[in-house]
Structures are given as C-alpha cells and as structure tokens.
C-alpha cells in the first residue's frame, strides 16, 4: 500500500457526464433516508424553537411576540453570561487538556501489555451514572475528606473544595470522564495504521515520540480533526455531571457552575418550581448554537489538511 495524497488520486478519477449523473443519483439514494429522518424529527423542531425564541412562551398558553427582546435581555443577563463563560472554559481549556491527556495515554499505551483491557477501563467513566460520580466526588473533596487528608498529610492547608472551588472540581471530573471517549476513537484510528510502518520506523531508529509525530499524527489527522469537532459540539451539551452536583434530585447546582445547557434546563424544566420560560431558553440555545457554528467553521479552517491515504 503506497502512501498517496488525495490530489494525486483525483487525477486518476474518471470524469464523464454519465458517471457524474450516476454519482449524483447514488449520492441521493445513500443520503436520503438519513436526511429525511433528521429533517423531520430534528431540524423541524429546531427551526420551530428559533421561532419560539422570538416569543415569550410558557409552553402551554399562546405565545406572545417579543421580537428580539429575549436576545437583548440575554446579553445583559449576568447568569447567562457566566454560564456562557463556563461553556467556553470547558470547550477551550477542557478540550486542550482532554486531547493532551488522550495523546499521552495513546502514546503510553502503544507498547503496553493488556492495552485492550486498559482502554476499556479508561472508557468506563462514560457509562457510569453521573450520580455515582458526584457522590464519590462529594466524599473525596468534602471538608475533611480524602483529598483534604492527603493535602494536610503533605503539610498543606486544604481549601474548601466544594464551597469555594466547585467549578474546578467539576471541571476536573469532566476531563476525567471524557478522556476515555477520545482515547477510544483515536485508538480505533491508530490501530488501522499498518504495523509495518512502525516496524520500519523502529528499524530506522525512531523513538516512540518520533513515531508518534511522523506516523501516528499525520495518518490519523482526519480522525483527530473529527474528534476535535465532536469535542466542540459535545462539550456544549455537558449537562448530567454538573446537574448531579445539585444535591437532591430536585435542586439545581449553584449558578457559578452552570453552563449553557444547565441554564437552558433551569429556564425550562429545572428547579423545585420550574420556570417554563421556553422563549428565553430557546433564545439562549440559539445563541449557543450560533457560536458553535462559528467556532466549528473556524476550527475546520484551521485544522484542514489534505488527508493522507494509505
């Protein structure tokens, strides 16, 4: 299998009117089921919620027109802005850490015995109910808990983790749970790389880091960029883990830990006596959605490279 750049491949691609028509028909047949299903049950309701965002609506009675009023309010709403900042913090700082950690693990696990097992174990926080994690976190970080004990054992004065640094604690937890997912995806990609590439590199005297840089990274770039986009998008939907810090099954967590998903929930169904402000919540979702679109477009521009075929 030779290493080919796609530009090169394209030269050999036959062109002709009948083939391109056939290709177009095939394209339609292949994508149509997904497009239909997605449009009816997802895009339709989403567009409806754009419409809702221009109204005041409790979800039951008639909507009242507000025009852009909801949006004007949002930009002045400190609670929303703080939630938006948290979302960005998770997206950017969290993303950086998750990917660094994932690559480090990938590198560390390449030569490890029992890596299948290790990967399963790393993925495992993804399938655990957030409530369990939050209870565990509570025991670990509470005043006089295990972390405090460890710190004071080292002669340090432990801070009030859950009282003063709750967002940091949640942030660490998020990174911990999500890393497994990306390790899984990236590992599926690296495992497709034929072994003899590495064998050849080893014969040439390349160390693991060099192998990683010259073989793994370029050959998995497509998957990495996809993973980056997935992170962008899914980081915005982080919800359960933050919500689980709300204490009882009814209470919302403190507002300084909210991200936009929790904000939306709080404006609609969340809390002891829910607010049911669907118009306002929809507006905040639209703002979030539009910012992701911009970010994803930028991201794709930045990381676009010609994929390498092998």
């Amino acid at each position: 299998m030779a290493v080919l750049v796609r530009e090169h491949a394209r030269l050999h691609r036959p062109h002709g009117p009948s083939i391109s028509r056939q290709r177009r028909r095939a394209f339609l047949v292949l994508t149509l089921p997904a497009v239909i299903l997605y449009t009816i049950f997802f895009v339709g309701p989403t567009l409806a919620s754009f419409w809702v965002s221009l109204h005041a609506w409790d979800g039951v009675t008639e909507m009242r027109w507000r025009g852009l009023g909801n949006y004007a309010l949002l930009l002045e709403d400190e609670v929303f802005l703080a939630a938006f900042r948290n979302t960005l913090a998770i997206l950017l700082a969290g993303g950086l850490l998750v990917f660094l950690l994932s690559f480090a693990l990938l590198l560390g696990m390449r030569a490890m015995a029992g890596r299948r097992f290790a990967r399963s174990v790393i993925f495992f926080p993804n399938i655990i109910a957030p409530i369990v994690l939050s209870v565990l976190w509570g025991f670990l970080f509470s005043t006089g808990g295990l972390v405090d004990a460890a710190l004071s054992g080292m002669g340090l004065d432990p801070p009030n983790w859950l009282g003063d640094h709750l967002f940091l604690v949640i942030f660490l937890g998020l990174i911990w749970t999500h890393t497994g997912f990306y390790v899984t995806i990236l590992m599926a990609a690296t495992d497709r790389i034929p072994r003899y590439f590495y064998e050849a590199a080893e014969l040439d005297g390349a160390g693991p880091l060099q192998q990683f840089r010259h073989i793994t990274m370029p050959l998995t770039w497509d998957v990495v960029s996809t993973a980056a986009v997935i992170w962008t998008i899914s980081s915005l939907k982080v919800f359960d883990f933050i919500y689980a810090f709300g204490g009882t099954s009814n209470d919302l967590p403190p507002i300084h830990t909210w991200n936009t998903a929790v904000f939306i929930y709080a404006q609609t169904f969340g809390g002891r006596v829910p607010a049911y402000s669907f118009g306002y919540a929809s507006a905040s979702a639209v703002v979030t959605l539009v910012s992701i679109v911009i970010f994803v477009l930028l991201l794709r521009r930045v990381i676009r490279r010609d994929p390498i075929q092998f």
Binding site: T46, A48, R119, I128, D240, Q309
Partner: protein, 259 residues
Amino acid sequence: MVVVNLTVLAWMLVTSLREHREIFARPFDWPTFAWGNYAKAWQSADFGVAAGNSLLLVATAAVAVVIVAAPAGYALGRGVGRAAASLTLYFALGIGVPVQVIVIPLFVLMERLSLVNNLFGLFLLYVAVSLPFTVFLLTGYFASLPAELEEAAAIDGASRLRAFWTIMLPLARSGLITAFTLNAIGLWNEAFLALVFVQSTGKQTLPLALLGFLAKQQYSGADYGVLFAGVAMLVLPMLLLYVWLGRRIIEGMTLGAGK
C-alpha cells in the same frame, strides 16, 4: 488513570455491599458484604420490565442508526463538491442542539403522529437524535479509508452503490461497530426524552426506573448502599457489553485494515 478508574469501579462495587450508616461514617473502607442491598434494590425498583424495554429499544435503535447513517456517512465522506460539504455541515449542526429546546415542538409533532407513550415513537426519536453525531463520526471515518479500492471498483464498472456495499462497508466495519457501541451506551443512559415521551410505567426504560428509584431512596429513607447496588446493576451489563464489543472492534479492525 487506569488505576484511578479501577479504584472508582472497585469503590462503587464495595460501597454497594456496605451498610448505609457505615458509608457515611467511613466512605472508604472494606465491604461488609451486605448482599441484601442487591435484593432490596431489585425489589424496590422496577428494573425487570424496564431492562427488557431498554434492551430492545437500545439494540434496535443503535442498529437502525448505523444502518441509516452509514450510507450517508459514506456518501458525504467520499463525496466531493458543495453538496457533500454543505450536507456534512447540515448534520454537524444538529449535534449542538440541546434536546431540552426542541422537546416541546417535538412533542406536538409526535402527538400528531400518535407516537407519544409509544416505544416505537421513542425508537424513531432515538434514531433521529443520534443521527447527526453518527453521520458525522462515520463521515470522518469513511473519508480516511483508502480510495484505491473504490476507484478500482469504479473502473471495473461497479456502481457506486455496489462499491459501497461490497467494498467500503466491510472495510468500515470497525467504524460501524464503534458507532454502534457509542450510540448504544449513549442511549442506554438517555433519560430526558424517555421522561417526556413515555408515560406508562410498563413502557419505561432503565434510566427512568433509576430516576424513580433514586427519588424513592431519597424520600423514604436514603440508603446509599441500596442506591449503589441499584446503580451497579445498571452499570455492570454495560461494562460487559463494552468489554465484549471492545474485543470485536479490534477483530473488526484486523479484518478490515490489517492486510
């Protein structure tokens, strides 16, 4: 990381075997083997029927998602030109929409189709909601597959549909299995849509049963031992599935790419 995770898992299992009072007195300690926790959890939660529903729903929905998304992912991943690019973006956008926002319009739609409180309706929703992510994932996956085989097939006169079916699909097996596994796990934990769209207790899924179980634990005497036993009963099947399929993924990969 591996050690930390194993510790967490162990802690969860150990805690599920301890008495409530001891858990709070000493959160980290050896189990007292209170097997009764599991019996109590099983009794007080309606996990039986719910497990059946969840299993059926998640298995069919995850398979259906992959069946619908794979052709689209192939067409988008191997396609060039504006149509493919804009359609890719069209799907990508969907990943960012929080379900809470579309739930009311969605409910009105489902009500018109008489699909509320109906497992088939929930199945449709699960497929639709999982589509953006799966299409996105598979698009990236197909894009990274070698092109020569497909081109060889095209020169041989095989149609694109046949090229997809006979050549690309087997090649993409590991990607498909990954997509299936990730969707299955995601849907297994999905609670919000189920909460809104399922009303009968007989049709509820496991996360709903768990929510009810947690609420009950809280109102009528919290017992964290029983609570953890209940959670462990939900996590263990998933863990086994993952460990099992994780092996499959690797087999798929050796079949697919390891020539």
